[in-house]
Amino acid sequence: MSPETLPPVRNPSDLRAEAAFNDWVRRLVKGAAELRAFDAGELDAVMDPATGTAILLPEAQAALQGSSRLVLSALDALPGEVCVLDAAGTVVMTTSAWRAFVAARAGAGLGVREGANFLAACRDAGPAERLHADAVAAGLRDVLAGARKLFRCDYVCHSPRGDCAFTLSIAGIARDGAVHAVVTRENVSERRRAGAARSSGRAKASRIAAVARAGTPNHLLAALPAKVYERLLSGLEPVKLTYGEVLYEPGEQMRYVYFPSDCLVSLLTVVEGHHALEVGLVGREGVVGFRLALGIPTASLRSLVQATGTAVRIKSDRFLRECRRSPALQVALLHFVNALMIQVTQTAACNRFHVVEARLARWLLMTRERLPSGEFHLTHEFLADMLGVRRAGVTSAACTLQRRKLIRYKRGVITILDQQGLEATACSCYRHRQVMGFEAGRDGQQSDDVHTGTRTRARRANWQRLWKREPRRVI
């Protein structure tokens, strides 16, 4: 409590002497018949019936003054910029932090010195501070008038050394029938900067979460060690690939590398004067644009999106950086390249030796394996291109399969009805599954939690065992 809050204290000279005081109290106690006094300790004040006031005894008075000084020192030592205003808005007390601010900025940003009037300072504020100075003055008037207990406002102070953001609060203290005010100013520039950094961090985190949520994760990514995957994750962005979209043409620079999640990309070789022929099929088990990892920046095949779905992509330079940095990623890519090479060579042989019906069955099964549902949109022309045959040949083969109730083909939508029957019809190329380099489950549902599932862990463990056998530098 400050000295001002205490009532006027009178020290009667006849009570200053200890003996006189003791005598007075003794007489007091004896004089009151009903008073059953127990001297249980010391006293602070005596009442003076003549004046009707309380008289603080010297010791209590000294203690109170000491504690007032302590309160003032404690207030001064507060790290915040605080000033106390009287009912007229004059600054009666400031903390050392407030004074330091005023000295450093020479009155800028409502820096009012002790003895000055806060309202006058607001009125005389420069044009840069006019707006918030008016708001502060209005708030202070409200607080001093008792219309509100607390006023708070945020403002920015422009200076050649940079902008500073402040939060100013004015709290009212009702005392002796008038309202005084405590003004607290806080420099929130650092906090705002930290908040902005955090929110940009949050944006990045939400982007990563979006990538993680975007459909079934790619098997190649899922099989990477967690550390490598997490590092890669910050560069990945989800993307929707639509049917018919060409990712790269032969000879074109590859700007992105794609990891399909639930879409399907055909790798087509373009022969002059002929239709493009499919030589490979990449789904969620692999990556499109792997040639980058081999050090070749251009595409050799046309990459055509065959089934609409989601994928994640990464910029080429970032992908290359990660490749160079992570042997684990290199090995994963080499495994995929090996599998794809086998698929391509097997497809070449298949196209030469096997009948259209068996090839169509194989192709449908391979597509089914890479897609979440057993129903996909395909036209006969497209199938003819994929298989390198005439349209009539595809129509005939599809009709045969449909007659045998293995598939249903209606308005360009193919539904696989009998998976086992189709497998029996397919050529031997499909049955060499390990040779074809595809191990994904047939049921798309299985892969929904591929990143956490036991199957993925098993794949990862298997992959890590493989990695241990590999020499450390592969490329």
Binding site: A37, A40, G41, L43, D44, A45, M47, G52, T53
Partner: protein, 109 residues
């Protein structure tokens, strides 16, 4: 169980009475602050919630203190139950306070 309790009451078990007290203090003077703290401890230990306490700051309401016949602070007045009694001091002497409140020392604990 309910019957037993009735019997016990009929046999003259003490009925809890609420002690009404008024403590006169002088602002934040050291003995006044100590008196409040000491009285709180006594109330918590011996009265266990069966009390009403009013604290009067004689610096703010000197006339009230004079009207109540209080001449020094800190001063504790027991208003009810009768008899009325006063204790002067910072209430550090617990036995004296208990005696003034009509609670024999050690009997309650």
């Amino acid at each position: 169980m309910a019957r037993k309790r009735t019997k016990a009451r009929a046999a003259g078990a003490p009925i809890t009475t609420v002690v009404v007290m008024r403590l006169y203090i002088a602002g934040a003077a050291p003995n006044s602050v100590r008196a409040i703290a000491n009285l709180e401890v006594i109330c918590r230990r011996y009265l266990k919630g069966c009390y009403k306490l009013e604290i009067v700051d004689v610096c703010e309401h000197p006339q009230r203190a004079l009207a109540d016949g209080v001449l020094v602070t800190p001063s504790l007045a027991k208003v009810s139950p009768a008899p009325v009694s006063n204790v002067i001091g910072n209430l550090s002497d617990t036995d004296s306070v208990l005696a003034a409140l009509g609670l024999p020392a050690g009997a309650i604990e």
